[in-house]
């Protein structure tokens, strides 16, 4: 990727992500991550030139919420703007912050993603995405069994077991991440016995509705070297949106955005084998079926091979190719923050600061992906040294 200036992450903050946060209002929840990022970076608000805000306003039913959130994100009398793209919002904020710093327009930019799902009805909010004339009658929020059907058709019970194993892996990881929302002890059997939503997708496969926020501070090369926190560099980012008509021609016939985004990132950065060259991956996994399926696309490997990796435990924290040591989206999902949390967690892994859920190896390259809209993917590569 062409970047006129190098961009580094110099501060990372997250709120506690929980199912119920009646103790805070929206700006207060935003302030939890903003103050955490300021603490982490050892910076003050006066060091920040521009504040980016993102969430999906129909979840809480607050119009132009960046206005109210100036009380919590520090944007009062500062420059800033609001950028949103649905589930991908956090990943887009990452791109936007990188673009604004690389452009030279600002030196230090803070991106803040937010959602307080308990204040609205999430599935209603997502259903409102569909075209009011053609799609809204049949939209079912984000719940679909389509990907699982393809796996079970091809690989039978072994696939169902693999999806359950992915979910259990996420739960085990979340237990090591005190900020995660769902920190539960579950077995594969619990997953496969949980309530059926849309066969073969079950309740425990699916991401929760969380309340939380995430803030990341970005800066240019010169300042990154002066600021106290260890820099994590943005190597590249890619955005792949798609037309709103889902699956025209069927999923078998059109490349998935995950595949396209991964391919583009690897080609641009000379990555031949992601399994060897990427140390950890924070994936936006709205369900364990999608985590399983998209692992194929990001790894550029066929289903059968990925199934073997699942069975070997490659995707566990101690495994060869850890996915979502944080517990991922199936454990924590404040939607406007979710994709930014992927970037934050990937950056923590690069810094070696992920605490109990740190992968036990020297992380030089990490990948983060966002998912949203009508099957969109926005992905980024983060590195220890550029």
């Amino acid at each position: 990727m062409n970047m006129n200036r190098k961009v580094a992450i110099t501060g990372i903050g997250q709120s506690k992500h929980r199912g119920h946060r009646q103790d805070v209002n929206e700006p207060e929840l935003v302030w939890e991550s903003v103050s955490d990022a300021l603490r982490d970076s050892c910076l003050d608000l006066k060091d920040i030139d521009c504040i980016l805000h993102g969430n999906m306003e129909l979840f809480e039913g607050v119009h132009q919420p960046d206005m109210w959130h100036t009380m919590g994100n520090g944007a009062r009398m500062k420059e800033g703007m609001r950028i949103t793209t649905g589930g991908t919002t956090g990943a887009t904020l990452n791109c936007a912050a990188a673009n604004l710093v690389a452009s030279g327009l600002y030196d230090t930019v803070m991106a803040v993603g937010f959602e307080k799902q308990e204040e609205g009805q999430t599935t209603t909010g997502i259903t409102a995405m569909a075209d009011p004339l053609w799609g809204r009658e049949i939209q079912t929020g984000a719940i679909t069994g389509a990907t699982g059907v393809l796996w079970v058709e091809e690989l039978g019970e072994r696939a169902e077991w693999a999806a359950a194993k992915m979910r259990v892996k996420a739960a085990k990881n979340a237990l090591r991440n005190y900020k995660a929302h769902l920190r539960i002890n579950i077995t594969e059997k619990d997953v496969m016995d949980s309530r059926l939503l849309a066969w073969p997708l079950r309740l425990l496969h699916m991401c929760p509705e969380s309340n939380g926020s995430c803030a990341i501070i970005y800066t240019n090369e010169e300042k990154a070297k002066k600021f106290p926190q260890k820099p994590v560099w943005i190597k590249d980012h890619v955005t792949c949106h798609k037309e709103e008509t889902f699956f025209r021609g069927g999923p078998r016939f059109q490349e998935l955005s995950q595949s396209y985004a991964a391919r583009t990132l690897y080609e641009r950065n000379g990555i031949k084998d992601p399994y060897k060259e990427i140390d950890v991956f924070e994936m936006y996994d709205p369900s364990s079926w999608w985590e399983l399926d998209w692992a194929c696309h990001f790894l550029r490997r066929p289903k059968a091979e990925v199934l073997e990796m699942v069975e070997r435990g490659d995707f566990e924290i101690e495994g060869a190719w850890p996915i979502n040591p944080s517990g991922g989206v199936v454990s924590t999902n404040p939607i406007g923050a979710t994709a930014l949390i992927r970037v934050a967690e990937a950056a923590l892994q690069v810094r070696g600061d992920a605490g109990e859920h740190q992968v036990p190896k020297n992380v030089r390259t990490a990948m983060a992906s966002g998912f949203g809209g009508t099957f969109w993917t926005v992905a980024a590569l983060l590195v220890k040294e550029l």
């Binding site: 970047m3 306003e57 009062r76 609001r82 793209t85």
Partner: protein, 385 residues
């Protein structure tokens, strides 16, 4: 360092209700037009459009992710499309950042808003009030503006008549703008005789409900010179958020706009805006903001804007023409207020503004506002050179 430039612009005619068009159709009209003007494809060959920045509002569209239905019109299918969810001038600014970052070579900006789809515009802006304190008193953007107008008139001694003079001026200008919605002139007496909608705001003090779309193409200086003989350069911009609770602000002043203006002038190298600027386009949704914004930007002494407007100095042909497009008071939807101002600057700086052309315009200022009583401002300086 390279500069960002606008090479093409298209806007729909602004209308009170485009009942025969969906938002996609409005956007397609303007996107097709800028693509025809520049001959640019979408990622078909090097130097084509590679990135899109859209601007829309989920509440007005009644759609979560209101950009999802626009993406494929601007190259978002297997491509980059990002939505700026506030006044469209911010989208233009972000497009400039995409180009200056080196990540994009050519970015398309596409903004739309159909205010007519809402049963009541006030119902939507009421939802911008926090549910804890403000919704209980029924605060929406109109009532916030009413309070701001009272505070402004009280402190400065400006009169409702002077505000009405700003409406009359804008409507005189709009009569010369074929894209404007309200092209029929109104007099100060007409404004004063129109019914109160939120004391002291009268019906003609308030921008009308409007539908429309705007597209622009933004690129680097080098590429711009290949695409047009008359690129318009973005010299600099600045923005600022104010306090959210209007009780926390001195409503009679606009400190956020003053800060945004200073940031813009510094970056654009403008030392004496009163004399250097050839024209100013302000996104005033309400008549009194025409006065307040001029003062906040330092283009006239505090408390003197009313008299300046009455003197005709801000008319086309005056020493500092303001809103020669007709401004928002002649009809632009809320998300397009600032972008429509930049659109007018683009036409003026290229000498393509027809009957309302400011002769020899070289340096123009566009401003956009978002939020209750204009909580957030962005100011951008544009130049033909």
């Amino acid at each position: 360092m390279t500069r960002a430039a606008i090479v093409a612009m298209a806007q729909t005619r602004f209308e009170p209700r485009k009942g025969n068009e969906r938002v996609q159709e409005m956007v397609w009209e303007v996107v097709s037009e800028v693509r025809e003007k520049t001959g640019l494809g979408i990622r078909q060959k090097p130097g084509d459009i590679d990135t899109a920045v859209t601007c829309s509002d989920d509440f007005f569209d009644a759609r979560t992710i209101s950009n999802a239905c626009i993406g494929d019109l601007v190259g978002g299918h297997f491509g980059a499309e990002e939505k700026v969810a506030m006044d469209g001038l911010n989208a233009l600014f972000y497009a400039a950042a995409c180009v200056l970052s080196g990540h994009s070579k050519v970015t398309i900006v596409a903004a739309h808003c159909k205010e007519s789809q809402a049963v009541s515009r006030n119902m939507i802006t009421y939802a911008a009030s926090d549910p804890i304190f403000q919704r209980g008193v029924g605060l929406d953007y109109l009532s916030a503006a009413g309070l701001q107008m009272s505070a402004y008139l009280h402190r400065t001694g400006a009169t409702e008549k002077q505000c009405a003079a700003a409406v009359a001026r804008d409507r005189r200008h709009a009569a010369k703008n074929p894209k404007a919605q309200a092209q029929s002139p109104v007099s100060v007496a007409d404004v004063m005789a129109s019914p109160y909608v939120c004391d002291p705001l009268k019906e003609l003090d308030v921008y009308p409900v409007s539908d429309g779309a705007i597209a622009m193409i933004v690129t680097t200086e080098d590429r711009a010179k290949e695409l047009t003989d008359k690129p318009v350069f973005i010299l600099g911009a600045g923005s600022c958020y104010n306090d959210y609770y209007i009780g926390d602000r001195d409503l009679s002043r606009d400190l956020a706009l003053s800060a945004a203006g200073r940031r813009c002038f510094r970056r654009a190298g403008i030392k004496d805006p009163r004399h250097e600027l050839d024209l100013v386009e302000l996104a005033a949704q309400y008549s009194y903001q025409e006065l307040l914004f001029l003062e906040a930007l330092g283009l006239v002494d505090d408390g003197h804007a009313g008299r300046l407007i009455e003197s005709g100095a801000t008319d086309l042909g005056g020493k500092l023409p303001v809103n020669v497009s007709g401004g928002m008071l002649a009809g632009n939807p809320i998300m397009l207020g600032g972008l429509a101002r930049a659109a007018e600057c683009f036409l003026q700086l290229r000498g393509e503004a027809g009957e309302r052309q400011v002769p020899g315009a070289k340096l123009a200022l566009a401003q956009g506002a978002t939020g209750p009583a204009a909580q957030h401002h962005i100011v951008m300086a544009l130049s033909a050179e």
